[in-house]
């Protein structure tokens, strides 16, 4: 029994955690299993794997994901910060390591092999980078003697530098946008905002000019008739053939043709088998998580916590929005997974990291400002 009378670490957690957020995330995880059952057997069959290969692995990864999410959600903001720093210090070097020693997969060096597991370090760098950037921005805003903004820019430059070298255009864009938003929320002047926006557009333009596959994707998106926009076209058709109520679980046919049916295009498979109404429900679940997170940020006074919550929420929200937008042909094809729904071990663990931290930061805490010196409160901005 969880009782308010007795103060145990668990009861304290239970009474402070944001339950709507917790249950929404749980619902997404369960949804991920169900939709994986729909989408991945066809892909597994095509790859001559066991039919439930991807389902089994998804379930297998979900156990550490749940444990990690819950475990991290027990942390207080200071420990969250330490965790982020630790993760960044482990995985950023691994990212550089992958650049030189990782196998080349689809023309990019993103993976490293640890025993039987392929790990994509950039997935873990993402949430930790966001938390660290939030901390640096908060410090820069709070204290004039710490060059927080400059450090945040340096951190950003280093991270996306490696991502561009991999190359990973999607993650670069994602991290760039979230970092820009953080900068904006940290109180950047509008004039700077415009300059930064110009830099972003310039970066995209540069990528378009320099990277042939980026150019090809834009070209295909803008002229669907000329290019072989195979995946997005099939995705489009699958929504149309599914209609409002879908063909029913297992009845879809588009998944047999789509190579990325279990990852980037699982939303389209969902559309065909479960229907557009179900897709709208899934969409509102994501929207709820995002708006709930930003609502927390709105009501948070502590600069680091506010920025970290906003950053993690936007990372999650942007990733989901980009994936769904690609699926419904609002954006050019982009290697972006749908959080918790798409198959992928690294992606799941990375989400556990990010969402665990989000849950930890959104827990109700006694206001630091009101109870100065309270042992549980964090002297804001202090790193010990």
């Amino acid at each position: 029994m969880i009782s308010r009378a007795e103060r145990t670490p668990f009861s304290e957690w239970w009474w402070t955690i944001d339950k709507p957020l917790l249950f929404s995330l749980a619902a997404l995880m369960v949804g991920g299993i169900v939709l994986s059952l729909a989408a991945s057997p066809a892909v597994a069959d095509r790859l001559n794997l066991d039919l439930f290969h991807f389902v089994n692995r998804q379930v297998m990864f979900l156990i550490p994901t749940v444990l990690l999410t819950l475990g991290i959600s027990f942390l207080d903001p200071r420990k969250v910060r330490r965790l982020a720093l630790g993760a960044y210090l482990i995985f950023f070097p691994l990212m550089i390591f992958a650049l030189f020693f990782g196998p080349e997969i689809k023309g990019a060096h993103r993976w490293i092999q640890i025993g039987p597991l392929g790990v994509q370090p950039s997935e873990f760098v993402k949430p930790s980078f966001i938390v660290l950037a939030a901390w640096l921005f908060a410090e820069g805003t709070r204290r004039d003697d710490v060059p927080g903004h400059l450090l945040a820019m340096t951190l950003f430059g280093a991270t996306i530098g490696v991502l561009i070298l991999q190359p990973d255009f999607g993650q670069t864009m994602l991290i760039g946008v979230v970092w820009g938003c953080l900068f904006f929320l940290a109180g950047l002047r509008w004039i700077w905002m415009i300059g930064l926006g110009g830099l972003g557009v310039g970066g995209v333009f540069l990528a378009y000019e320099a990277l042939p596959h980026v150019r090809a994707r834009f070209g295909k998106f803008l002229n669907p008739e000329t290019g072989e926009n195979f995946q997005t076209e099939r995705a489009f058709e699958s929504f149309v053939s599914g209609g409002w109520f879908g063909k029913g679980p297992g009845e879809g046919t588009v998944k047999r043709i789509l190579p990325d049916a279990h990852t980037d295009f699982i939303f389209a498979v969902t559309g065909e088998e479960f229907g557009i109404i179900f897709c709208l429900i899934l969409l509102s679940l994501f929207a709820f998580v995002v708006l709930r997170g930003l609502w927390h940020a709105l009501n948070e006074d502590e600069p680091f916590v506010r920025l970290a919550i906003a950053g993690l929420t936007m990372l999650f929200g942007l990733q989901s929005a980009i994936n769904m937008a690609v699926n419904v042909q609002l954006m050019p094809a982009k290697g972006m997974t749908l959080p918790f729904i798409s198959y992928g071990g690294s992606s799941l663990i990375s989400l556990a990291l990010g969402m665990g931290m989000l849950l930890a930061l959104t827990r109700r805490r006694p206001r630091a400002r009101l109870v100065e010196g309270f042992p549980g409160a964090v002297p804001a901005g202090q790193f010990s």
């Binding site: 053939s241 046919t253 709208l280 906003a310």
Partner: protein
Amino acid sequence: MRSASNAGRVRLAMAGFIAVYLAIAGKLVLLGTKPDEQAKARIDAEAGLATRRPVIADRYGRQLATDIETSSIFAEPRKMIDADEAAEALGRVMPDLNLDELHKKFSTDLGFVWVKREISPREQAEVHRLGIPGVGFLSEQRRVYPNGPIVSHELGAVNVDNQGISGLEAYIDKSNRVVKDGSSQPPELNVALDLMVQHAVRDELEVAMKEFDPIAASGVVMDVETGEIVAYVSLPDFDPNKPADALKPEAINRVSVGVFEMGSTFKALTLAMALDSGKVKLSDRFDARAPMRYGKFSIDDFHPTRRILSVPEVFIHSSNIGTAKIALAVGVDGHKAFLKKMGQLDRLRTELPESAMPIVPRNWGELNTVTISFGHGLSVSPLQTLMATGALMNGGYLIPPTFLKRSKEEAMTLAKRVIKPETSDMMRYLMRLNATSPAGSAKKADIPGYRVGGKTGTAEKVVNGRYSDDKVMCAFTAVFPADAPRYALLVMLDEPKPTKETHGFRTSGWNAAPVTGRIVARIAPLLGVKPDFDIPPMLPPATQAAALGSIQ
């Protein structure tokens, strides 16, 4: 700390996310309202199959065309697991399929393609036993014509999707007699045709094809009181069950689509015009002693008599000189106006989509009137001529021909008076006289009892811009019984060859006329025309004496 402004910026981020999610939701809703193209291909196919066409029956309800249910195989390449295996398995069961094409079709990711239409029950069982995923059956209607080629040009044909593409089948589609959703059987379409008469006409024409070896033979029987087409044959024809045969160039519908110089059969029109105008009387005489000269042209008779001829003599000797002089007595303008009134200068439209525009001389001068008076220099469709012949015989009413059943009352509402009843009487007399007189060119068509009247026509065909001596178009217009005409008949033989029996002649009197006679002998009893062996050639008493006295 700029807390207030920061809160505003968080709200801006929230608004941004709301906008993005709403855009995605909006696109999803848009996709939900979009029609499914792939599913539509199949729905369209099924809708096509559901089409019910009316049964076509002849005037006594004998079936000419009907639907039977068959199966067709379709495939959904998108649902196929192994396209190559599926194609090969189907190829083993149905060796007539084009395997390469099948491979190509199955390698697409379309939602619906046809594999084979209208398969046999055995094929269906075998394909069913193969159990290939993504292959299925749809039952569909197939048009069958139980009489085969006996009724061909009139019925036309349907394509593989059961849409009429020619003949009455096209008319059925155009006049919305098809039930598209398959909910009910449309009412039977009763046509004017009499299957037994049709068969007799076709049978005799086939004999004529063997006997005279023409490149084509056609025959049409029309009820002169209603304009109903009772028989309609144009050989060579085709079997509507094999619609591809209809595309053979020799199988064109010569009765409606072909236009021909009708030759001397046109003389009936010239005489009717002259007699009706009052400018020429049956007792008038015309000088046919010498050929007519028109600049470098010379008009002469085929069987020159070289004497002065009465009007009936001009007709039965088929004198070109006499007819030309009769036409000139009416004049160019009168001639043109009369032929226009008789519907010879405009396209004749019937229920059949097939029709042809007459070829009319652009500058119609005296020479044109001279040649057209005996059927050269104006090309019309045979059906058009038959319509005019009917008007000369039925008391003077021009009635547009029809392939559908029509009552006498209905016909009268459409009819247009073109000549006086007295003129019609005189024309009946002349036509009958041509068959009864020993000098008449139609005497080989005179079947005892049925009082046949007729007019021959032998038009030299134009070969390389000149009239040819040995290539002729033989036509014969007939009417029976001539004293009270019920049916008009047109027989045409295109390039008949001379035989021993015709003593080397290739003129209409030697081939088209006897063929017409044989046809009348067979169809008159079927049509309920009672034979009468005692009726003499008749004319109103006033004109009779003068006319009869003139014949030598």
